[in-house]
């Protein structure tokens, strides 16, 4: 009788241990995702229809900059007259990425020497179409590129 009681107690303790352990592990597996979720992600901001291309004074006159716009690159040019131009940086010929050549004042594709003027119009070489235009606005000294005005 006494022996029986003892094994019963032992079993009870074992069950309790499992229960407590399971409970603690449960807290762990639920809290882990939640805490990870709340941890700020590496990239802080949401990528959107408009994207920031940095501060105005970081892009000097005559300089250009490539920014990622969703899956597409966009080139932002600070022209000599002070205006900012944003154009799709994907060459319309064979999808290479274009660059700005300040000495010639053209947008140039290294792959086949395609050239576009600052309005994105294809002016020489193989590109069949002009580059798509993007809209640039300046908010709080920051260059904002967007697809639509």
């Amino acid at each position: 009788m006494e022996e029986h009681l003892e094994t019963k107690n032992e079993r009870r303790d074992f069950l309790k241990k499992i229960f407590t352990g399971g409970f603690l592990a449960f807290i762990g597996v639920t809290l882990y995702p939640i805490v990870s979720f709340l941890k700020p992600p590496k990239q802080e901001e949401v990528e959107v229809k408009s994207v920031s291309a940095g501060k105005v004074d970081e892009l000097k006159v005559g300089d250009s900059k490539l920014v990622r716009f969703g899956t597409k690159p966009v080139i932002i040019i600070h022209a000599d007259d002070g205006t900012f131009t944003a154009l799709s940086a994907t060459c319309t010929h064979l999808d290479c990425t274009v660059q700005y050549k300040n000495d010639e004042k053209v947008i140039w594709c290294a792959c086949h020497n395609g050239k576009y003027n600052l309005h994105g119009k294809n002016i020489s070489g193989p590109p069949p179409k002009p580059l798509d235009k993007y809209f640039v606005s300046i908010k709080n000294e920051e260059i904002i590129v967007s697809k639509e005005a």
Binding site: I34, F37, V46, V48
Partner: protein
Amino acid sequence: MKEIAKKIFGYFDERFELENLVHFMSKKYVPVHRHSIWYYFGGVSLFFFIIQVITGILLLFYYKGSSDLAYESIKFIMSKVEFGWLIRSIHSWSANLFILSMYIHMFSVFFEKAYRKPRELTWLTGAVMFLMSLAFGFSGYLLPWNELAFFATKVGTDIVGAVPFVGETLKYFLRGGEDVTGATLSRFFGFHVALFPGIFTLLLVLHLLFIQRQGISEPMHSEKSEEEKKTMPFFPNFMLRDLLLWLLVLNLLAILAVFFPAELGLKANALASAPAGIRPEWYFLFMFQTLKLIPGHVLFIEGEVLGILLFGVVGLLWILVPFWDRKSSRGIRNRMINYIGIAAIVFIIILTIIGLM
């Protein structure tokens, strides 16, 4: 360990008289009979609601409720935020299962006639909560601002617009303008995360309070005498069973979320043409399908208007069942109610299947 727990319990017991509560709970009994299983769906619904609140709050940390940010922010949650995919998928799955368990809970209460006097108000609060859960679903569906949601909302609010007299105004109010735009999204976002949860919580508290005061309803026409009636203590027996079921449900949710994560689709574009095979979420499907099947004109009124009126009247009668089902309230068997319930279930299932085809 045990000593510390006892001390903490003692601390609170001294101040809030917890002993009383434990005593109250352990003296509370839940009737046991062959339909007991259906009793658990109220608790399961509650659990889903808790999950929704938790995951919903988590999503709010990253979600942005405007037409040009909403889609991207969900994309961000799904791809950049750690476990973002899990939280959103659980929120989405739990929403669907929440409504499903609400349906089951409501029908089981209906068949048990547990709404009968003195529990009319419990039924009433429950019915309103059910309608609100549908509204939760409808408003939440738009928030990712994807193509499907956009057009589903367009169609859904259009149907609202067909309601006689107040329809147009209501539609204008819901959309926040003539059309489904960013303004609609802002509104739905407000409804979904502030207005609805507030009202819902209030109703839920009432609902639970009523149950606590009145105890759980017993089935009618128990042939057995008072002594023979089986019961079990609410605490810990029933509560542990509840817990067990909740854990099972949580397990199911985790599996569903990992294997069938919530999708996002394409971003809403007001100028794009509506994608083919557009239809509402499954819980609206039978209503949507009925409206589609009603002919364009019946006698002198428009088919759609007729359908909406019919659903309105039937819905109202359904909600008010404790007030016209006098027989059950007097403890007399009312087979009519069973037939109505079965007819409703058959109707819903058949039209949902037609809608899915």
